[in-house]
């Protein structure tokens, strides 16, 4: 039982990170009908920005909460800017081009970031600094169940960010504009919504979330490498589709499901299928519900 609970927590922590990344895919899809394949690599950049920021601030030698928060902010800002630059340079010129052109461009940007990353950061895995040293917050009598501050942090921060995101999308002007564009871009534009600016904002928001996801995962699994976004990005993308792409609660649900399914498979003797489970799950769910778990025909797309 305690082992089961431990696995549950492992799965939810992993799933929260997938969910954060999946949100970026789903938001961009909502406003642009584009699968931004470079999103997984923005997540990788988030981890690297944090790596260099914490080295610069020498967080490990002289740790303080302020510095850790600063590292998060620097990385979020860096990724938001990266996301905006990608949108401005790679996607905006193709706004009226066929969808496929933008999709291929997204793959190109993704490869640029992966191999650029290998060239700039070096291809070897790097040990990520211990920004928040792991401590057990709760340990059961038998020792089988152990919850650490990092796990609580991952789940807590993810939930908080999702709540903030929901607030932005549902309650603010820019959120309303995002929803309007997702329903009908040209009409929103006719109603006076500055679509370019809103789309850029969407990229910034999604990329900042990816940055947080990148740092959280690097704290939790302390090595980073320039290709770390490939697999996680793909899984987060599947999570977004699973939950119903374009649907924010769907992305969160998909991410959590993905984390749990992966953890469950790994504990069985089919652990070699860890990465395949994402796609098995996707196929099964799309067979039953072609628009994803929470997707519907008259869905609210953001």
């Amino acid at each position: 039982m305690e082992n089961f609970l431990q696995q549950l927590i492992n799965g939810v922590a992993l799933g929260s990170v997938y969910a954060l990344v999946a949100l970026g895919y789903t938001m961009v899809y909502g406003v642009l009908r584009l699968i931004n394949f470079a999103h997984g690599d923005v997540y990788m950049l988030g981890a690297y920005y944090a790596y260099y920021a914490s080295a610069k601030l020498s967080v490990e030698a002289h740790p303080s909460l302020g510095k850790v928060v600063l590292v998060f902010l620097i990385s979020m800002l860096g990724c938001a800017l990266t996301g905006m630059i990608i949108e401005r340079l790679a996607y905006r010129p193709l706004r009226s081009a066929p969808k496929l052109t933008a999709l291929i461009t997204a793959i190109g940007v993704s490869m640029l970031l992966e191999f650029g990353g290998q060239a700039v950061f070096g291809p070897d895995p790097k040990p990520f600094p211990d920004l928040i040293p792991s401590k057990a917050l709760y340990q059961s009598a038998s020792g089988a169940l152990r919850i650490t501050n990092q796990q609580v942090l991952i789940i807590g921060v993810s939930l908080a960010l999702m709540a903030i995101l929901r607030h932005i999308v549902m309650k603010t002007r820019v959120g309303k504009a995002m929803r309007a564009i997702s329903q009908d871009g040209p009409a929103a534009s006719l109603m006076g919504v500055n679509t370019d600016r809103v789309i850029m904002f969407t990229f910034a928001l999604g990329s900042a979330l990816a940055a947080v996801a990148g740092i959280l995962i690097a704290l939790y699994q302390p090595t980073i490498n320039p290709l770390m976004g490939v697999r996680s990005g793909l899984k987060a993308f599947v999570a977004a589709v699973l939950g119903g792409i374009g649907n924010i609660p769907g992305a969160v649900l998909g991410g959590l499901l993905m984390g749990l399914a992966e953890t469950a498979v790994t504990t069985t003797k089919f652990s070699g299928f860890r990465d395949a489970i994402a796609f098995v799950l996707l196929i099964l769910i799309l067979l039953v519900r072609p628009s994803g778990l929470l997707g519907s025909v008259a869905r609210e797309k953001v």
Binding site: Q7, E114, T223, A276, L282
Partner: protein
Amino acid sequence: MRTAKSVSWGALGVLTCLLGCSNQGGNNGGNGSSGGGSSKASSGSEILIGEYGSFTGTTAQFGKKTHEGIMLALDEVNAKGGLLGKKVKIIDADTASQADQAATVVKKLVNQDRVVAVLGEVASSRSMAAAPICEANKVPMVSPSSTNPRVTVGDDGRVREYVFRVCFIDPVQGPVMARFARENMKKGKAAILKDIKNDYSVGLSEVFKKDFERRGGKIVAEVSYSEGDTDFRAQLTAIKGASPDCIVIPGYYSEVGNIARQARDLGINVPLLGGDGWDDPKLMEIGRDAIDGAYFTTHFSAESKDERVQTFVKSYQAKFNEVPGGLAAMGYDAAKILFEAIARAKSTNGPAIAKALGETKDYKAVTGNITINKQHNAEKPIVVVQVKGKAFKYVATFTP
């Protein structure tokens, strides 16, 4: 030391292409001299020897350290006037830690650069990809540290005439790990965490398991991960549930460091045990204090009092300003044995060199006296070291 089966987890063809391209387009910047284009026959003023290694990628440290060992041996031989009256030149090529890339670069070394012999690789998967090419072209290949038995033995079960290694093999290494766990560590309930896509890891855990059970131990859990994974908590939680008294991780340093951190994080405090895939200081850089106290079997300890070892350590330190690890020593030995075989063969002709390599007997190498046996493996002692702070402390030597 391993075979990576081509990964087929991506259902999306486009993304598979992305990964596929990463194998090709990736990193071809080796360090040191890189191959010249045109076909240079070795009949000129130089003897050309190829080296393929993982200078980049997940096991970049293996390639770099082996290369340093080879460079040291090269300097020594050229300082003494080279071989057969000619200077020796090494042409290196990067495998980017990938088996398909290894096959490509070895083809280039053999067909385009026309090298007389090839040194490499560390990982068995890459050596196994290159071995058939060397065999078919009658170019002798010496692997410094690939320990999977199938490197020197072809698919038909016959020993490859042109493929040799200067290290022990996993069926010898595994039992030493098992013996150490049973007799020195006094452990009886082991858990195994292996890399399922890696033949080195799978092979080594099999022989360990067999021998550990033969010695009265029990394997309480056997779980796996795949190369490139970074999350090991699910596997480790399963291991924890089986309450072992030691965990055996026959993998490579970067994953092992990560595994150790996550194991301690889950409250698993039993000792960790591994093989020669751990042999790099990056292990401690990633694993930090989580890896402290762990044991592993390897080829060499820089702490040995042996005069040969100390001379090697001194000259290596003078050149590279650090203490050599096992892979540097293996690279050095592989190169020295190859040079010596060329000298004995008095020829750069492939079959002649291969014959001389096969006759290597009691060569006084840094990593022990090396005799190449009928299977083209080296018979030599195995060292057990312990991770202590930032160094590997010598614990024991086993002669199989």
